[in-house]
């Protein structure tokens, strides 16, 4: 603030300060009254001036006011949900110890709370935005949901506080700041002059509305872009990839950058009708055949698959994205074969194998130890082409012994295959898997199942936990699954858990104290489920 008296009394105040610094032994204070001690005179004068300066305080000139944030038209949160959000945000990481005990881990429920709030389309309470942004700053996995919930005002805030700059980068399209399709000049300028992140956001936003326009924009500057930028721009085509993208991608197959070429080929192979897919189908099917005369080893006359891997990686293959150099420890020919089969459209195999279904094809024996190579490549193709029929066939029955073992598909691959299945089928398969193989391998598979878990899956998990308890192991051996169950189990299952929350007598062969820990873990599970049900109810719109 400024002081009125500064102009008139500025000089004497300055003199008082100077005298105070030097000391009255060296300098006589201004306006000293004879007969009064010099330091006292100085203090008297300074006291008068200090009070005068303070009493004369006036406001300062207003600086340029910020542009107001766009109003949030979404309905406000119900009061109970607002209070819940405060509680969830108060449970910040780093303020306490591990996850033992019966109380729920609130921070773990925040993602679910955000998903529900977003599904209802509520506006975030403005005063909660700083805490939300702080939470998202520390946890990148929270960012999309937080930013969707926090809305345009959070981006407005992020422009004022460097701590939250991530919001400007992470927000899809940077929110309201991007020019719309009705502002072609704005679009062109941002595409020409924008920062890389802004340009990606712009491209993604336009692609979502008008794929052709986005391609056109990208083509306009494509040859002048840097290789790593080309790669990122190419990635935006992944969403909404369509036949219309083929010419552009086909051109990119001759790109200077090997990574760009490989990505273009990968995208093309996901378009089953593309010329590249047809070329790959031709190459792949040439290597794989059905031998009706009987495999050399079995000699039974039953049909079997024989594989003749490519003998060279010719320039055509290389141009279509096949990497010629195998990683250490892999044979070149099997490396090439894998890439061909992975990139070939799965539809090609039925014709190759006399109209067999995927199940029948997968069931065929494969000669000369090629099975894991071939099935592995089919798995990658099924994931890439999002083909549920083939996924189903490659997953096999959940109860077969090899489903739990190493087999052709690793657990990570199985999780990816599962992700291409429809939700109910996914849950059913995982439930079957758990019923046969238990929980120790199930973690990754559970992660791809829809939340809340379908009843058969939920029951399979709870039963398996109960079995693990009876076997006398400690609950923290299953802490990953337990944590997932807390977040994903249907709250309706809380009732079924009630009998498990009692502390049992330790069985003779059980780990000491395990029963108590299990009771605690089940209590936390039940408590968390009830809390989730409350959370959900609190978010119901009033009068709904």
């Amino acid at each position: 603030m400024t002081s009125t008296s500064e102009a008139s009394a500025g000089l004497s105040w300055e003199e008082l300060v100077t005298t105070a610094l030097l000391g009255t032994d060296r300098r006589t204070p201004p306006g000293a009254v004879p007969g009064r001690e010099a330091p006292v005179a100085l203090l008297d004068a300074a006291a008068v001036e200090t009070v005068r300066r303070r009493a004369g305080i006036r406001p300062v000139r207003a600086a340029a006011r910020p542009q107001p944030a766009a109003p949030d038209r979404r309905p406000p949160l119900p009061p109970a949900a607002t209070r819940r959000l405060t509680t969830l945000l108060a449970d910040r990481p780093g303020t306490g110890g591990g996850r033992r005990g019966t109380a729920p881990d609130l921070m773990e429920l925040l993602p679910q709370w955000l998903a529900l709030a977003n599904a209802h389309g509520y506006a975030a309470p403005p005063e909660a935005l700083p805490a939300l942004l702080d939470a998202a700053r520390g946890r990148t996995d929270l960012r999309p949901a937080v930013l969707a919930f926090a809305g345009a005002r959070a981006l407005w805030l992020a422009r004022l506080n460097t701590d939250w700059r991530f919001a400007l980068r992470a927000a899809p399209g940077g929110g309201a700041s991007l020019p719309g399709p009705d502002e072609p000049e704005g679009v062109r300028r941002l595409w020409r002059e924008g920062l890389f992140a802004e340009r990606v956001a712009l491209l993604t936003a336009i692609r979502a509305g008008d794929a052709a326009a986005a391609r056109e924009l990208l083509s306009s500057t494509w040859p002048t872009e840097r290789a790593e930028d080309r790669l990122m721009f190419l990635d935006t085509l992944r969403t909404g990839l369509a036949a219309a993208d083929e010419p552009f991608l086909e051109a990119a197959l001759t790109d200077r950058s090997r990574n760009v070429r490989a990505t273009a080929a990968e995208l093309l192979s996901a378009l089953p009708d593309s010329a590249l897919a047809r070329r790959m189908a031709k190459r792949a099917t040439a290597c794989v055949a059905v031998d009706h005369m009987g495999g050399t080893s079995s000699g039974t006359g039953a049909p079997a698959i024989v594989v003749e891997a490519p003998h060279e990686c010719d320039p055509g293959m290389e141009r279509d994205g096949v990497l010629p150099k195998a990683p250490a420890g892999r044979g070149e020919r099997s490396w090439w074969l894998g890439q061909l089969v992975e990139a070939a459209p799965l539809g090609a195999w039925s014709g190759r194998f006399g109209g067999r279904t995927p199940e029948e094809i997968v069931a065929l024996p494969v000669a000369d130890d090629w099975q894991s190579e071939l099935h592995g490549a089919w798995c990658r193709a099924a994931v890439r082409q999002r083909d549920p029929g083939w996924s189903r066939a490659l997953l096999g029955a959940p109860s077969t012994p090899e489903a739990g073992g190493p087999g052709a598909a690793s657990l990570a691959e199985r999780a990816k295959l599962l992700a291409t299945l429809e939700g109910g089928k996914r849950a059913e398969w995982v439930a079957g898997f758990i019923a046969t193989h238990g929980l120790s391998e199930a973690f990754q598979l559970l992660g791809v199942c829809a939340v809340p878990w379908a009843p058969p899956l939920g029951r399979a998990v709870v039963d398996a936990l109960d079995i693990a308890r009876d076997a006398g192991s400690y609950p923290w051996s299953f802490s990953g699954v337990m944590g997932l169950a807390e977040r994903c189990l249907d709250p309706g299952e809380a009732v079924r858990l009630q009998p498990l929350t009692a502390t049992p007598e330790d069985a003779e062969d059980a780990a000491p104290g395990a029963g108590g820990y299990w009771a605690e873990a089940f209590q936390r599970l039940a408590t968390t489920l009830r809390l989730r049900a409350t959370m959900r109810a609190e978010l119901e719109p009033p009068g709904a």
Binding site: A20, P39, V51, V60, A64, R65, R92, P104, T527
Partner: protein, 456 residues
Amino acid sequence: MTQQGVRWTAEQVLALAPDAASRKAGSKLAVAGPWSSAGSSDEGTVWGLCKGSGSKPYQTIIDVADSSGPAYKCSCPSRKFPCKHALGLLLLWAGDDAAVPSGAAPDWAEQWLSGRRTRAAERTTRTDAASGATSADPEAARRRAERRADRITAGAAELEQRLTDLFRGGLAAAEQAGYGLWEETAARMVDAQAPGLAARVRELGAIPGSGPGWPVRLLEECALLHLLDRGWLRRDLLPDGLAATVRSRIGLSGSPDGPPVRDRWLALAQYDTSDSHLTTRRIWLHGTESGRTALLLSYGAAGRAPELSLPVGLAFEAEVSAYASAGQPRVALGERFTAPEPTAVRPPGITPAEAAARYGAALRDDPWLDSSPVTLTRVVPTPDGDSWQLADADGDTALPLTATALSRPGLWRLIALSGGTPVTVFGECGHRGFTPLTAWAEEQSEDARGHAVALC
């Protein structure tokens, strides 16, 4: 007399927590799981049994509507106050009607409650008796007061001598003298039974080395200290009000002997400051009928939250009595007639220019005043270089925010609440700038009346 269904918000409950760890621990207990036999009464008592690590559950009781602030009792061994069980139960009560249903208190809770009521009644009687005893021997009380006044006078004279010596040699030299000089002088002032002088002297020690402009700040504070010394030494010549202000600034606690004023008080803000010995809680109140602004002070030993706590944004009916001293809004809380509940009333606001003028005018009664409580209306938090100001939405003046305000997380809650549009802000306005304490968003529509957002 609590209306049924009027419960605190989670924020208000969390404000009771003595530290961040308690907030977290309390939040974790705010679920139905560990609790059994939980319930609440319409009078504002909440109780429950919480399963702990032992076989016997902890008995937790909170009396929310007690006239001197919430009272807690828990059979757990925690030394935190309130403990996590009390916080968890209150959060549960605040959030979930079903988990803490209305009902009659069980025996173990009722025993404690009736004990409290008896003790409270006894205390009232005792206070009456004590005041009777004081008046019975006015001569002894007068002699005691005189002895203390003599000590303070000796202390003030000694302090004057130290200041004189300081300014003879110059402040530049004082920078080298360091903190020890001030600590020792402060200790002398404690001996002289002048805690107000001691606190000011201690603060002087921190000024050298507090950044550019420190000589000016040191000169100002020394001059005001000198003014206080002189005021004490010549208090007989001062008008009554100013003499009372000097006495309270010196640290002679007056008594809340003003006539009891009954009003519906809105809790405007509550915040704590603490040093190594003491936590001081300041609660600003607004009389919704009288328009009066009042300050409640409550103290706790270091590391313990003071007992008095009022939920910001809620109003309650109570009597307060003013402390004798001109220009100071401090009151003592008397009887409370209702529990805190939501209100639509907001304090009337003024402009930044009027706020600065009000602080200037307040210095007439208390030249040592650092700031006065003010509600600003229609102001926009506005960035100003590295700093922020509250700019008048309808004019071209603004109040800069204090360094304290800039370093608090509440600053960003305020900015977020505003979003570049005008807000109403209550805070303290003084020579260092404005410290916002509570804000309300402008009303978007009739049904979306902005609630109070605590910023401290």
